[in-house]
């Protein structure tokens, strides 16, 4: 809702008229003949695009899952802790 219609048109007259003329000129241009297989080619490419996106999404999920599994294993197994030594060093000098 425009309460001030005169404020919405900053520069009435010449530029507007020129623009309207250009608009009419563009609208009057002939429509170029559309290649007949345009829709089919766009469709095929769109399908390929979708398939690629799906593949990328799945790979991303797989990677995330692997990361979670690795973290869980690391937290549980704590591989940085050295294993308890099984052998006692020989005691001498008794």
């Amino acid at each position: 809702m425009n309460l001030y219609p005169e404020a919405a048109v900053p520069d009435p007259g010449v530029p507007d008229r020129k623009e309207a003329e250009a608009r009419r000129m563009l609208a009057g241009l002939p429509l170029p003949p559309v290649p007949p297989d345009l829709a089919a080619r766009a469709l095929a490419r769109g399908r390929r695009l979708r398939a690629h996106r799906r593949l990328r999404r799945r790979l991303g999920w797989l990677l995330a899952l692997l990361a979670v599994a690795a973290l869980t294993w690391t937290a549980a197994a704590q591989p940085w802790v050295p294993p308890p030594s099984r052998t006692t060093p020989p005691v001498e000098g008794w």
């Binding site: 623009e19 250009a22 000129m25 345009l38 829709a39 766009a42 490419r45 979708r50």
Partner: protein, 157 residues
């Protein structure tokens, strides 16, 4: 779910094809104006541009959420053209040959497609004043160019 997918895909493909049948003429003219190719000849650059935009629209067909597919395709078209504008600097004999790619883009969005100034500015990431200046300049260049192609149907040789 597995069974329903092909059915849904076929329906989307049908919807997409009828959309293209209705909108392709106008979109293709916009694309040829952008690339600067004359309408009477084959326009491979405009074709590539439009097919790219249409393919992206189709890829998101089930996620348009009420957005008009025409507007979506126009947005894709403009975005792609803005990214690849350098390829379209060379004149090709079309009616907007005298303009720079950016001027052509603004002119097509504002006057051919009738997109509002603010919306054009938001889409291209430019201030509205810049859009107005570009549009004014493009219109002036078009008018100075016009006498050459006043004859209807008489394109470039």
């Amino acid at each position: 779910m597995r069974e329903r997918r092909p059915v849904q895909q076929r329906r989307h493909a049908r919807e997409f094809e009828s959309f293209v049948a209705g909108a392709a003429g106008r979109l293709f003219r916009a694309a040829t104006l952008l690339t600067g190719e004359p309408a009477a000849h084959p326009a491979p650059a405009a074709e590539e541009l439009l097919i790219h935009a249409l393919a992206r629209t189709y890829a998101d067909w089930d996620r348009l959420r009420g957005e008009d597919p025409y507007e979506r395709t126009r947005r894709e078209l403009a975005d792609r053209f803005a990214r690849t504008a350098r390829r379209h600097r060379r004149p090709r004999g079309g009616p907007l040959d005298r303009l720079t790619p950016q001027e052509r883009l603004v002119l097509v969005l504002r006057l051919h497609e009738g997109v509002a100034e603010e919306q054009t500015a938001a889409q291209l990431g430019l201030p509205a004043e810049r859009i107005r200046a570009l549009c004014r300049h493009a219109v002036a260049a078009l008018r100075s160019h016009r006498p050459v192609r006043r004859v209807r149907g008489g394109g470039a040789p």
